[in-house]
């Protein structure tokens, strides 16, 4: 999906070191200057600490920060490894048994769509004291963004390569070792890069379920105590670490990957699939999801006071005497959230795509814009959401901006890569007719970008749901995020579980809807992209 976009984006920094290396420095300086000025202007508002104050805080409390960072980073790393191994394992199953792919991705999507606010306390009960929930939430946050690119990558090799292996009389194992794994590596690295900040966020939210120490623990403390230096200090450290891991994986990828991967425009569909297979898969996914839900409650012997099964949720929503009231409460909350989520989602998509186009037209600013974009995306939303809402108000704008930030970055990276995938031969033809960069952008690059854009738009659905529920839970106190937190504290577990089911189902439905739009749009504007 987002394969090597970063490599290409960062390439100027490497290749033309002399000129382009100035870019990131300029970007960083601009941010610091703007930040310092804003903090000085807003000094009485108790929302923003200047970089100088943050630095002072970090120097004075470096031991505390280092210990907290060590704990959270350790949990995030464990979750990162487990989640990515799980993704590789699932991709392996789908490869060996192609018929299972639809079911695997469907189930994986459903689990990925489970809201953190609700899974945290359940994991805490399952694991008891210790780092279990932190590691699990970190793993949950990463596996899906690795699985999907990997599934594409494992098939992203020209047919002639497979023919070559076959002509030597070798079988599927050789194909896997010599062709598929090599083709998949860039996709794997792209997934790992996106996963790094996500794992850190997951580990921090896991600490909200009751932990002795860590960055998440300190975040709660800082926000409650109105300690703006500490809050921004934590945000700075978390962002810096996420950016460093992101860049480290990028560097590793460039060392490991010898050649640019062959450009495969379309996602090759698994062979021999028919239309009705999709519906069978959806039914299988529903059946397996309901089965494993009820099954784990039985297996772990969870108390019916807080562990509600499919039957309980159905009763609460349709059969109980207060079913209509329950539906009304959840429906209202979902509407409230949708009002924030939908504009934020589209704002993020449009900003991401436009910035990617702008960078394609004016490549000189890539070096400045890219590190800024990475940094913005790596700021853990749990640290800054309450402050951003304080800063720009708890009206619609604060939430919409935060949702847009979560959506913007993956879209931007994907679009940047998509724009660069314009077929060279077509570009040469346009060149020979002396077409300008704008014509090339409109007629060649944008159609080439569409699959990547839609892939990002699909992945952005769960991301925006995560953003809106976290902001509502921690900052604004409205919508479905707040309803879930409130029903947990009031032991209204029927409403909690029903909300979880509806949020996950609606997220998966939104994902499917974007897929449907994608097929219609590609059929009209870029039919060659449909395999």
């Amino acid at each position: 999906m987002t394969q090597t976009a970063l490599d290409t984006a960062m390439a100027p920094t490497i290749n033309r070191r002399g000129r382009a290396a100035v870019g990131p420095v300029l970007g960083l300086l601009a941010v610091l200057a703007g930040w310092e000025i804003a903090a000085r202007v807003l000094t009485d508002a108790f929302v923003l600490a200047a970089p100088s104050e943050v630095l002072h805080y970090l120097v004075a409390n470096w031991q505390l920060m280092t210990r907290a960072l060590g704990v959270t980073l350790g949990n995030a790393a464990a979750g990162f490894v487990i989640g990515n191994l799980a993704a590789i394992w699932l991709a392996g199953i789908a490869l060996v048994w192609p018929r299972s792919e639809g079911v695997i991705t469907g189930l994986a999507l459903l689990v990925f769509c489970l809201p953190l606010v609700a899974t945290g306390p359940i994991l805490r009960v399952l694991f008891g004291p210790g780092p279990g929930p932190q590691i699990t939430l970190a793993a949950f946050a990463v596996y899906y963004t690795t699985l999907i690119p990997l599934l594409i990558g494992l098939r992203a090799a020209p047919e002639s390569w497979f023919d070559l292996v076959r002509s030597y009389g070798r079988g599927r194992i050789s194909t896997l070792v010599h062709v598929r794994s090599m083709a998949a590596l860039p996709y794997l690295f792209a997934g790992l890069q996106i996963a790094a900040p996500a794992a850190f966020l997951g580990a921090m939210v896991g600490e909200f379920t009751g932990a002795e120490r860590g960055m998440g623990v300190l975040t709660i403390r800082a926000i409650r105590a109105l300690d703006v230096e500490m809050t921004w200090g934590l945000a700075t450290v978390a962002t810096a670490v996420s950016v460093l891991v992101y860049l480290a994986i990028g560097t590793l990828a460039r060392r490991v990957l010898l050649d640019d991967p062959p450009v495969i425009l379309a996602t090759p569909a698994p062979t021999g699939r028919r239309y009705q297979d999709g519906w069978i898969d959806i039914c299988l996914v529903l059946f397996l999801a309901l089965g494993s839900w009820a099954g784990s409650i039985w297996l772990f012997d969870l108390n019916p006071f807080f562990a509600k099964g499919p039957q309980d949720v159905f009763d609460a929503l349709f059969l109980a005497t207060d079913a209509a009231a329950t539906r009304g409460t959840i429906g209202m909350a979902l509407m409230e959230s949708a009002i924030f989520l939908i504009p934020g989602y589209f704002a993020g998509l449009v900003t991401g795509a436009l910035l990617a186009m702008l960078l394609t037209l004016v490549p000189a600013i890539v070096g400045t814009a890219m590190p800024l974009a990475i940094a913005l995306r790596s700021v853990p939303i749990v640290t800054t959401a309450p402050l951003v809402v304080l800063l720009i108000g708890r009206g619609a704008l604060g939430t919409i901006v935060l949702v847009a930030i979560m959506v913007f970055f993956p879209t931007f990276v994907a679009c940047l890569q998509g724009l660069r995938q314009a077929p060279a031969q077509v570009m040469s033809v346009f060149d020979s007719y002396a077409a300008g960069p704008l014509t090339c952008l409109l007629r060649v690059r944008i159609p080439a970008m569409l699959p990547a854009f839609f892939a990002a738009a699909r992945m952005a659905v769960p991301a925006s749901v995560l953003a809106v529920t976290v902001v509502e839970w921690l900052a604004t106190g409205s919508g479905i995020g707040s309803l879930m937190a409130l029903s947990a504290s009031l032991s209204d577990y029927d409403v909690l579980w029903a909300s979880v089911v509806l949020v996950a189902a609606l997220s998966a439905f939104g994902y499917g809807l974007v897929g449907a739009v994608e097929r219609r749009v590609l059929a009209i504007y870029a039919p060659e992209q449909l395999a």
């Binding site: 009485d44 508002a45 108790f46 929302v47 505390l64 210990r67 907290a68 704990v71 464990a78 606010v117 306390p121 805490r124 009960v125 008891g128 004291p129 210790g130 780092p131 279990g132 590691i135 939210v205 909200f208 379920t209 009751g210 932990a211 002795e212 120490r213 860590g214 623990v217 709660i220 403390r221 800082a222 926000i223 409650r224 105590a225 109105l226 300690d227 297996l299 772990f300 012997d301 969870l302 108390n303 019916p304 006071f305 807080f306 304080l390 708890r394 921690l474 900052a475 604004t476 106190g477 409205s478 707040s482 937190a485 409130l486 947990a488 504290s489 009031l490 032991s491 209204d492 029927d494």
Partner: protein, 332 residues
């Protein structure tokens, strides 16, 4: 862990062993020892639970054969599930949350009341003060919308028209008051006013408990099953709590210092903790506890609680409070 072997304890032991083996994440707690129990706290470590730290530090539990681990809470850590599932023997909740859980079918009893007075206050600034409920009329109050029933109950108890108050939904922070977006805040006596004091802003607080809002807070809850079958452990646990909190009362500064010493990674500030510890004392101790001992209640205080809980939409009976453990602790 319950004494009987069931699917979860088997699975739990399995996953725990796997986890510990694979990642070296053992918590250092001897597994499945009969005398090991957990106390689930309602929030992150702070002087809010310093009485428990004193009991732990001075060995008042271990000398009676009980090894207690104190499990920290957090914003996403409801207390009731670990108590129901047996992860924790006792949890620290509040009468309103416990009542809600009971009405959802949880088998709980309140076995002790640490905060005799509910810590909810209306905090305001001296130049625009809220000294009594009637002063709220015409004011903008910053609060979480989820706490609207609390304000409604206060208004009903004091004959104030809630429509005369402008509710501004804010997150739990003193910032909106300091920035002048609201005139007062609905918060706890022991947190936002303390944060403001540490920022050099002296605020006024009107304790809602002084105006009829009777909801026991920081209550100890245990399941009916534990009350029937694990009485000795409950008595030892509560006895250590009572001793710890009496010692806390004797020297709150020392209690704050111990809190920081035992939890160096909690990011606590000593001065803030000392102030919080001192402000907590009047909420926890009263003539009632002086006469009968830590955690006590009477039929009258329970009746007042039932009335306020009724205003909050929770119907409960006096059975929710079970004083038998405290009676054993205090030898009455």
């Amino acid at each position: 862990m319950g004494p009987t072997l069931n699917r979860r304890s088997l699975l739990g032991a399995g996953t725990a062993a796997l986890g510990a083996g694979a990642f070296g994440l053992a918590t250092g707690r001897p597994a499945l020892a009969q005398t090991t129990v957990s106390l689930q706290l309602s929030w992150l470590h702070s002087t809010q639970f310093a009485g428990s730290y004193i009991a732990l530090d001075r060995g008042w539990w271990s000398e009676n054969g009980l090894e207690v681990s104190l499990l920290p809470g957090g914003p996403n850590a409801p207390v009731e599930p670990p108590v129901v599932s047996g992860t924790a023997l006792v949890g620290i909740s509040a009468a309103d949350y416990t009542a809600a859980a009971i009405n959802q079918g949880a088998p709980f009893k309140i076995i002790g009341v640490a905060m005799q007075k509910n810590p909810f206050v209306i905090a305001s600034l001296p130049d625009n003060p809220v000294n009594e409920p009637a002063d709220l009329v015409g004011k903008r109050i910053g609060m979480a919308l989820a706490n609207t029933p609390v304000l409604e109950a206060l208004c009903t108890l004091n004959g104030v028209d809630i429509d005369g108050i402008e509710i501004v939904p804010t997150q739990y922070s003193a910032q909106p008051l300091l920035a002048g977006e609201v005139d007062c805040l609905l918060c706890w006596e022991t947190d936002l006013p303390v944060s403001m004091a540490m920022q050099g802003v002296e605020s006024l607080t009107m304790l809602m408990a002084d105006h009829g809002y009777a909801v026991h807070s920081q209550t100890y809850i245990a399941t009916d099953d534990s009350l029937a079958n694990r009485r000795d452990e409950l008595v030892t646990l509560m006895s250590g709590e009572a001793r710890g909190w009496e010692a806390y009362r004797g020297d709150t500064d020392a209690a704050a210092r111990l809190t920081l010493e035992m939890h160096p990674d909690a990011g606590l500030d000593l001065e803030t903790q000392m102030l919080q510890a001192a402000r907590q004392v009047p909420l926890m101790f009263s003539g009632l506890t002086d006469a009968n001992g830590f955690g006590w209640w009477t039929d009258e205080t329970v009746a007042a609680n039932i009335e306020t809980l009724g205003l909050l939409g929770q119907t409960v009976t006096p059975d929710l409070w079970d004083r038998s453990i405290l009676e054993e602790v205090h030898g009455t």
